[in-house]
């Protein structure tokens, strides 16, 4: 009897201990979970805060670029205007040196105007996006080709394209994008008339477009640099321009949840690729 009692007691104690240990274990896991939860929440809050910070500083930068370029234009217009007036009125009436000085001043002022107006365009691509809506890329391409009609005719370029999709986008920005890429393809042509082909491929969650040309091509070591604002690979006598086109193109593509890149070899033409996300219900 005593033995049975002792056994029962031992058993009870064993189970009680076991339960107690289990409880401790559960509690420990719980504590860990609570801790982990708190940590995750803190991390999420930190990410959200950084995202908000980034968004704010981006908006501020855009605003800054817009205001700076817009307000800079005003006094520059006066400087350029009067220097040009000097050139107009006094060209050849002072001496050769004066003519040269005036010419340099006119050239500098004109170039700065170009840069500022490009900077303004660039900042607008980010800050003045319209609502995204379904856009037929074939229509946009048609428009872009119409804008480039003269350039295409003069260079005897042929532009062909595959069927293009309808995407959700800002039509104006897309027009600008096609315009930039096609005009580059014509501008940086080789010895033969430009042959440009535009195609699109379905890539699950994005459309991938390509603009292929047979122009002078780009050395791979410059692949990153060409997308940076005001970066140029050629002297301005060789190919005019400020170096804004691809920077704007990049911004447009990024606004559309995509990326842009180039494949090329010097002398062997270039193909620019860009993607447009399929998940753009509204402006990001």
């Amino acid at each position: 009897m005593g033995i049975v009692m002792a056994l029962l007691l031992a058993l009870a104690a064993y189970f009680a201990m076991k339960a107690w240990f289990k409880e401790q274990e559960v509690e420990a896991v719980n504590r860990e979970l609570v801790h982990e939860n708190a940590e995750r929440r803190r991390a999420e809050e930190a990410v959200a805060r950084h995202a908000a910070d980034l968004e704010r500083s981006n908006a501020e930068l855009q605003q800054f670029a817009y205001v700076a370029s817009h307000d800079l234009q005003e006094p520059l217009r006066i400087v350029a205007g009067y220097v040009q007036l000097l050139a107009r009125r006094y060209q050849g009436r002072l001496d050769a040196e004066a003519d040269e000085f005036i010419a340099f001043a006119v050239d500098g002022a004109t170039r700065m105007q170009g840069l500022i107006s490009d900077l303004l365009t660039y900042s607008r691509v980010g800050s003045r996006g319209r609502a995204f809506e379904p856009v037929r890329c074939e229509d946009v391409l048609k428009q872009s080709l119409a804008s480039l009609k003269l350039m295409i005719e003069e260079s005897r370029a042929t532009v062909t394209h595959d069927p293009l999709p309808t995407v959700t986008a800002d039509a104006g920005q897309l027009h600008q994008l096609f315009l930039n890429l096609i005009s580059n393809a014509v501008k940086y042509r080789g010895g033969t008339p430009p042959a440009i082909h535009i195609a699109a491929a379905d890539r699950a969650d994005a459309w991938q477009f390509s603009v292929r040309d047979n122009g002078i091509g780009i050395d791979p070591k410059y692949f990153e640099r060409i997308f940076v604002i005001f970066q140029r690979l050629h002297g301005k006598d060789e190919y005019p321009g400020t170096g804004i086109g691809l920077a704007i193109s990049k911004k447009v593509v990024e606004n559309h949840g995509g990326r842009i890149w180039v494949e090329s070899q010097a002398g062997k033409g270039a193909t620019f690729y860009f993607t447009i996300s399929k998940n753009l219900g509204r402006k990001q």
Partner: protein, 148 residues
């Protein structure tokens, strides 16, 4: 297009606060084919006083054409435009807004307030000269202005 409009003098009122801009516009109008006289005021309040012949503008001529900048001290060009176009005595005078603002909202608002033309000042002098020439040609020769 050289309508030598019966040789009468065309009165222009320019509302512009930047003297450098005033001079540049004057230079451009200098070669005008039509005889014109340009008066200049530097802010919106002065513009309205001029048009209403108040205070020191008691003897001011009634302009045939108003060139109006939008960003002005005291009373801003948008308010001046609104006052002109809601004043039965002044609303017939054609107002051409000449501004650096390319802001869509400014353009729309100006036309809502019955501006006669909205022009953005080009940055390039040659283009500016061409625009002044076009303004001059159109408003001083082509159109039939309301009788004074």
């Amino acid at each position: 297009m050289k309508a030598s409009t019966s040789g009468s003098l065309i009165e222009i009122l320019m509302v512009e606060d930047n003297p450098a801009d005033v001079r540049l516009t004057r230079e451009a109008f200098k070669d005008a084919k039509v005889l014109n006289k340009m008066s200049v005021v530097g802010d919106g309040e002065a513009a309205l006083a001029f048009l209403r012949r108040q205070g020191r503008y008691a003897d001011a001529p009634r302009p045939d054409l108003i060139l109006l900048d939008l960003n002005l001290p005291k009373k801003d060009g948008r308010e001046v435009l609104e006052e002109i176009k809601s004043d039965p005595d002044l609303k017939r005078i054609p107002v051409v807004v000449l501004t650096t603002s390319e802001d869509q909202r400014d353009v729309l608002k100006a036309y809502d307030m019955h501006v006669n033309a909205y022009i953005t000042k080009p940055v390039n002098l040659d283009q500016f000269m061409k625009i002044v020439e076009a303004v001059e040609n159109f408003w001083l020769s082509v159109v039939k202005l309301p009788p004074k």
